[in-house]
């Protein structure tokens, strides 16, 4: 590979990124900047380069970079081309990505693994998707490996919890705080089936990372996990979730908190759930509030028995609520890759 070819590849790839990001405005800015600063040679050379290589779009620019067969520039150029044509020609996009995973490019190869995995997952090819995600995880790429870990963790959470747990651990270890929080949450889900104490720690870790999307979810899951085991800590978890103003889960947490605090202390929280909750929270909250009011106004064994019945019914519903909650979990920002 001659240095001239490397220079062509580098320039074409850079141009592709400019056009990819800002379109023609990116190039206009280049010209305006030169007008301002007296560096006319720069945009002129860019324009001559475009003319020489017949570049009219970001795709053309990446294609020029790829055509040089530079080991440094061809793989990222192919990935960029795949992303550009993905909507119109998915088969060709996947063909390009397959070529990239056969290279050993530090950046492009992990990304190609991840993109292929997502595509295979969307096609229902779970085993192949898993292999691709594992390829991305094995790259140890600081951004892509945790993302892949997170995605494969949620993909396998029901069918292969052991692998899912490993994947979540990778994501938790390598990811940024947001990814780690999601991974800890996923880990908690997997571990609940085997070890409640380990699951509790995972949920607590997810909550402590204080991600505004993940922390309320983690506190709700933690609270439900603790209801039959440690009601005091469950109350604490629900209270923290209920106190986050603006959180969509605050009213739901207020309902759980009100129920657990019982007649008197719980009334205020049930009132919040009724005021700010969804229809189902409002209905449930009103029913409990009526039971609590009756218990306060007409204390006695009958009223106490009614409260206990309602509490048992509440606990019986927790698994269903957890399932519903799990269905709302998202892996993260789809454009994160």
């Amino acid at each position: 590979m001659s240095s001239e070819q490397e220079n062509i590849a580098s320039a074409a790839y850079g141009l592709g990124q400019t056009l990819d990001g800002d379109g023609l405005d990116g190039l206009r800015e280049l010209f305006e900047d030169a007008i301002e600063t007296g560096t006319s040679a720069v945009p002129v050379e860019t324009a001559v380069f475009m003319r020489t290589h017949r570049i009219r779009s970001a795709f053309d620019a990446y294609a020029v970079a790829a055509a040089t067969r530079s080991p440094a520039w061809r793989p990222p150029a192919l990935v960029a081309m795949a992303m550009l044509i993905y909507d119109e020609n998915r088969v060709e996009a996947m063909r390009l990505l397959v070529e990239v995973i056969e290279s050993e490019h530090e950046e492009a190869t992990p990304l190609a693994f991840l993109l292929l995995a997502q595509e295979l997952e969307s096609l229902g090819a779970i085993a192949s998707a898993r292999d691709m995600y594992v390829g991305a995880i094995n790259s140890q790429h600081p951004r892509i490996a945790p993302e892949a870990g997170l995605r494969v963790g949620y993909l396998l959470i029901d069918t292969d919890p052991a692998t899912a747990a490993q994947a979540f651990e990778v994501a938790e270890l390598l990811g940024d705080p947001a990814t780690s929080a999601r991974a800890s949450l996923g880990l908690g889900l997997v571990l609940e089936r085997f070890d409640a104490e380990e699951a509790r720690m995972a949920y607590e870790e997810a909550a402590e990372l204080d991600d505004e999307d993940v922390a309320p979810l983690a506190r709700m899951m933690l609270g439900w996990l603790l209801v039959p085991r440690d009601r005091g800590r469950a109350i604490h978890a629900f209270e923290r979730a209920a106190r986050v103003s603006g959180s969509p889960l605050a009213a739901r947490a207020a309902y759980d908190l009100g129920v657990l605090l019982g007649p008197g202390d719980g009334d205020r929280w049930l009132g919040r759930a009724i005021a700010g909750g969804e229809a189902s929270d409002v209905g449930r909250g009103r029913a409990f509030l009526a039971i609590f009011t009756n218990a306060r106004q007409h204390p006695g064994p009958d009223a106490e028995a009614e409260v206990q019945r309602a509490l048992r019914a509440y606990e019986a519903e927790i698994p269903r609520w957890k399932e519903e909650m799990r269905a709302t979990f998202t892996v993260g920002d789809d454009e994160g890759a």
Partner: protein, 444 residues
């Protein structure tokens, strides 16, 4: 932001913007009321008398297009690019989606850095490199040079021979008249003489526009002049008009390092550095719709009266010829917009039909759309129309279309554009080529 009157360097139509709030009652009387071409012309004549400096300045830009080979060459080839871009974009149905980059459009605005690095010494940079130390820096483009030349020409034509070389009078004039003095100031500093700068700058700039890279040539000629300053005392002591451009041409031949024979390039973006000649380009089969006929007429006039040959280099000493030129070589097309608060704009177009090669309304329609789509040679505030509720107003693809009806529903821009597009499609299909010359790959 108010738009300045201007002559664009591609189509070479002159746009005159008049702020209706500052015109005389006589002008106002003519332009208010129902549209009427005769009254508009009367208003224009009255306005002409009250702002002769603006009218001369913009007329001088038009003469630059007729007389300076680079400017003519650029206009000729870039307008061919406009036609090509229009043809290429024509396949996209909705004109409001036209978005293109024409790098060649930027060429005259692309600037270089000039550094005054030591006593009478000047360096050029185009890549951002900066000398270790320097006294002054100027960022200069070909358009900056044209503006600097127009301002000096305007001054010298106004004051006449007695004060044409007087820097003090020039400084006073600049305070009263909007003018481009940045290049003059830099040159005066390098030459260590405002008087020599004032005497030499206009012919110096015009000489440089007889090459394919005027700023590069400007650097060379200025550097040589600065170096020779100590040795030309006797010559400088002679009265004007000196034959500056003859010397500058000799210096260019000796020091410019031209890369090709004269007129050997049609590449607007990165031209071979060479001489350009009017004789060659005005004899070319390509026609510029507004310049070619007038440029040839000026060459013929110069054959009969040699003063026409140098009149725009030293206007103070060619006042008779320039007075006549103001009549004979009035810009081929002038669009005048009187901006009136409340009652809307009054716009009219004046054109010399004998010097035009196409319908000016068609040309302005094409130019409107392309300058807007390309985003260069275009100020987003440039518009002639006041109908803000018109669906075309916001997108402003009609920015230079000069016929503004009372009701926007009656506007001729959309149907004219449609007709041109259909006609062009048919012409291209039938002949396989564009009007205004063969297609050239200029646009993205």
């Amino acid at each position: 932001m108010p738009i300045r009157s201007h002559v664009d360097p591609c189509l070479f139509a002159r746009f005159i913007y008049v702020d209706g709030s500052v015109v005389s009652p006589a002008v106002l009387e003519q332009i208010e009321g129902a549209p009427d071409q005769e009254r508009y012309f009367a208003a224009w004549r009255a306005q002409h008398e009250s702002t002769p400096h603006v009218i001369f300045h913009e007329a001088y830009h038009f003469w630059q297009g007729l007389r300076l080979p680079y400017v003519y060459w650029y206009a000729l080839l870039s307008f061919r690019g406009v036609a090509q871009a229009f043809d290429t974009a024509n396949s996209v149905g909705d004109v409001h989606e036209w978005d293109m980059l024409i790098p060649e459009f930027y060429r005259p605005r692309l600037s270089y850095q000039l550094f005054h690095v030591g006593r009478r010494s000047v360096e050029l940079s185009t890549r951002g490199a900066t000398p270790e130390s320097y006294i002054a820096r100027a960022v200069v483009s070909a358009l900056d040079l044209l503006e600097a030349a127009a301002s000096i020409a305007q001054y010298q034509a106004t004051v006449g021979t007695a004060m044409a070389s007087d820097p003090l009078a020039f400084a006073r004039w600049c305070k009263r008249t909007p003018s481009y003095t940045r290049v003059f100031t830099f040159v005066a500093r390098v030459l260590e003489s405002e008087e020599t700068a004032l005497r030499s700058l206009l012919p110096l700039i015009n000489t440089c526009f007889r090459t394919s890279d005027p700023v590069r040539a400007f650097h060379i000629v200025l550097a040589v002049l600065a170096r020779e300053m100590d040795t030309v005392d006797e010559w400088l002591g002679q009265p004007e008009p000196l034959w500056w451009s003859g010397h500058f041409d000799e210096w260019l031949d000796a020091y410019a390092g031209f890369e090709g024979p004269p007129d050997s390039t049609t590449d607007l973006l990165k031209p071979t550095y060479c001489r350009l000649t009017l004789d060659h380009w005005t004899a070319n089969s390509l026609e510029h719709p507004l310049l070619s006929k007038s440029a040839r007429a000026w060459i013929e006039a110069a054959a009969e009266n040699p003063v026409y040959g140098w009149a725009i280099d030293q206007p103070a000493w060619a006042s008779d010829v320039l007075s006549k030129a103001r009549e004979d070589f009035e810009p081929t097309a002038t669009v005048v917009r009187f901006g009136l608060a409340g009652t809307g704009n009054r716009v009219f177009v004046m054109s010399r039909e004998d010097r035009l090669t196409y319908d000016i309304r068609d040309l302005l329609t094409i130019w409107s759309v392309i300058r807007r789509a390309a985003g260069s040679h275009f100020d987003p505030d440039h518009r002639l129309c006041h109908h803000s509720s018109c669906p075309e107003f916001q997108a402003n693809y009609c920015n230079s279309y000069p016929i503004i009806p009372s009701r926007f529903e009656d506007c001729g821009f959309p149907p004219r554009l449609k007709r041109i597009r259909e006609g062009l499609r048919n012409a291209t299909q039938e002949k396989g080529e564009m009007p205004y010359g063969a297609p050239q790959d200029l646009s993205w």
